[in-house]
């Protein structure tokens, strides 16, 4: 579905060189890295929104232009995008936000749109705030609503930039993780960029780490002498050990089987 071959691109942190990345349909990739490490630019290169200098980039078999001249509008109905910032429109209710593309493009009236959107809102755990406005809900509910909006037209690929950013409480965090797992269970291809090690616990995810302007697969991180990366994965290992020992009630609901089944 996504393929980058020896791609080089500029980011706010410098030039990324020889980035190789591939993701098949139905797979999940989690791109880990500290804030401002170039995760957003990487996602944008994958979607053709950010220019790259060398190499080749493909999305759904189509070669992406190195100019990065695409706009978000190219993916309407095909790719769900959840941006880093909360982008629910303030003057629409949560349900109207989620169903906006259905109302706008397909001309669905209020009742018909609500009928289509209600199951999705329930699936993402925000059915109870359907009639509320964005300023009346919590950050985690807003993020869940954005995820529901990204999935409203059942896209094959969903790209999420920092889905757990903002002021999330533990319950909110769990709800976001459940929503990610909901996409995963539906067979949707998922790319998640995050600076939160705990998001790396998502099931079956392939883990990558952005370090020193390189994209390093989890298996090769030990070869990189980066103290931040080392500490990051040490912390991740600790999380997993706590999880498998069932000492942390925080993740119990998420890993109901009590086992770490991640492939990373």
């Amino acid at each position: 579905m996504i393929s980058l071959k020896n791609v080089s691109f500029d980011s706010s942190r410098g030039e990324f060189r020889d980035v190789n990345f591939s993701l098949a349909e139905g797979e999940t990739a989690v791109i880990l890295g500290p804030r401002r490490s170039g995760k957003t630019e990487f996602l944008q290169v994958c979607l053709g929104l950010h220019p790259y200098k060398f190499g080749e980039a493909f999305l759904e078999g189509r070669r992406l232009s190195p100019s990065g001249a695409r706009s978000y509008g190219h993916f309407a109905g095909e790719i769900g995008i959840v941006t880093q910032h909360i982008t629910l429109l303030d003057n629409l209710t949560v349900a109207a936000n989620v169903g906006l593309s259905l109302s706008y493009h397909k001309g669905l009236g209020g009742a018909e749109m609500l009928k289509r959107v209600a199951p999705l809102l329930e699936r993402f755990g925000v059915g109870h705030v359907a009639e509320k406005f964005p300023h009346e809900i919590t950050d985690s509910e807003a993020r869940l609503a954005m995820m529901a909006r990204a999935g409203v037209e059942s896209p094959k690929l969903v790209v999420l930039d920092e889905p757990t950013a903002g002021d999330l409480d533990p319950a909110g965090f769990m709800m976001v993780m459940d929503a990610l797992s909901s996409f995963n269970n539906e067979g949707t291809t998922l790319v998640v960029a995050t600076s939160s090690p705990s998001v790396a616990l998502i099931k079956y995810a392939r883990l990558y780490y952005l370090v020193d302007q390189m994209l390093v697969p989890r298996s090769a991180v030990s070869e990189v002498s980066d103290p931040v990366a080392s500490e990051f994965f040490a912390r991740l290992k600790e999380y997993r050990e706590r999880q498998s020992a069932e000492t942390s009630p925080f993740y119990e609901d998420f890993y109901s089987d009590g086992k770490n089944r991640g492939r990373g």
Partner: protein, 279 residues
């Protein structure tokens, strides 16, 4: 602190170093680019209206209605009060000059020409800029800062179609409506004063009004108001859309939008009056 002082000194030095001619050329080029950009916004609006698909029109009509309610209907109270006060003051002033002015066709034409043809569209536009133009610039600027345009684009919705088209059409219709209210309430204020004033005979006043004011005058005034609504909307969506990523840009752009809207409305009004009534 030092940096800002240095920067200010640098700007002042640059300003002094550049000659008057250089500044004039720079100002001219910047103004030309600004008007070109405003022209593009209007052109994009025209093209956008033509290209809207049926389902998109259905949704856009709802947004237009919402804008008309906010800018046109919710402003009735303010427009009514201002129009009655302005109409009343003008009549009281004329009464102080000529107590029997209701028999003077010339003075009545002056009053009608001044209030209905000039003051009505200008005052309504000032109200529209203050109530709706500023709100549009702030709302659009905030949407840009919060990156709502990215979310809309991701859903295949053009920010221009979703936000600008309903605002431009809504403000045009709302301002034409406001001018209509203004005229009606002004006439009402005149009739109200005449019914309480012993020197004015209602029947005589109505006769003179009928001779001085035609439906065409009211229609022209409303059309002028409608076009001023387009000017205000275009200027305000342009400045709101120019906000990039910082919230501090919003008040800067909004104040520029308000001042420019006022200026262009006055220029437009003068141009129409000169073109229509003088040339």
């Amino acid at each position: 602190m030092n940096t800002s002082v240095e920067s200010q000194t640098h700007v002042e030095a640059d300003w002094k170093a550049s000659s008057l001619a250089e500044r004039a050329v720079k100002f001219t080029l910047e103004s030309a680019a600004y008007f070109r950009d405003l022209g593009f916004v209007f052109l994009e609006f025209c093209v956008g209206v033509v290209r809207l698909k049926e389902n998109q029109w259905r949704y856009t009509k709802g947004l237009i209605t919402h804008q008309i309610i906010f800018s046109g209907i919710d402003a009735i109270y303010v427009v009514s009060v201002i129009s009655m006060l302005v109409g009343g003051v003008v009549m009281v002033q004329l009464l102080s000059f000529s107590p029997g002015f209701q028999t003077d066709a010339f003075l009545m034409k002056v009053m009608v020409g001044l209030v209905i043809k000039e003051i009505a569209p200008i005052f309504c536009s000032l109200i529209l800029v203050g109530r709706s133009g500023s709100a549009i610039a702030v709302e659009l600027g905030e949407m840009k800062v919060k990156r709502h345009h990215e979310a809309l684009e991701a859903m295949g919705i053009s920010m221009f179609h979703y936000f600008n088209i309903p605002r431009i059409i809504g403000l045009a219709v709302a301002n034409a409506m406001l001018v209509g209210y203004f005229v009606v309430m002004t006439l009402f204020s005149w009739l109200l004063i005449s019914s309480f004033h012993q020197n004015i005979h209602l029947a005589g006043l109505l006769d003179l009004l009928a001779g001085s004011l035609s439906l065409g005058d009211v229609a022209l005034s409303a059309a002028k108001g409608g076009l001023m609504g387009v000017i205000i909307a275009v200027v305000c969506v342009y400045h709101g859309g120019k906000v990039e990523s910082s919230a501090t840009e919003i008040p800067q752009r909004t104040s520029r939008a308000i001042v420019d809207s006022f200026l262009y409305c006055f220029i437009f009004d003068a141009a129409v009056s000169v073109g229509f009534y003088v040339v």
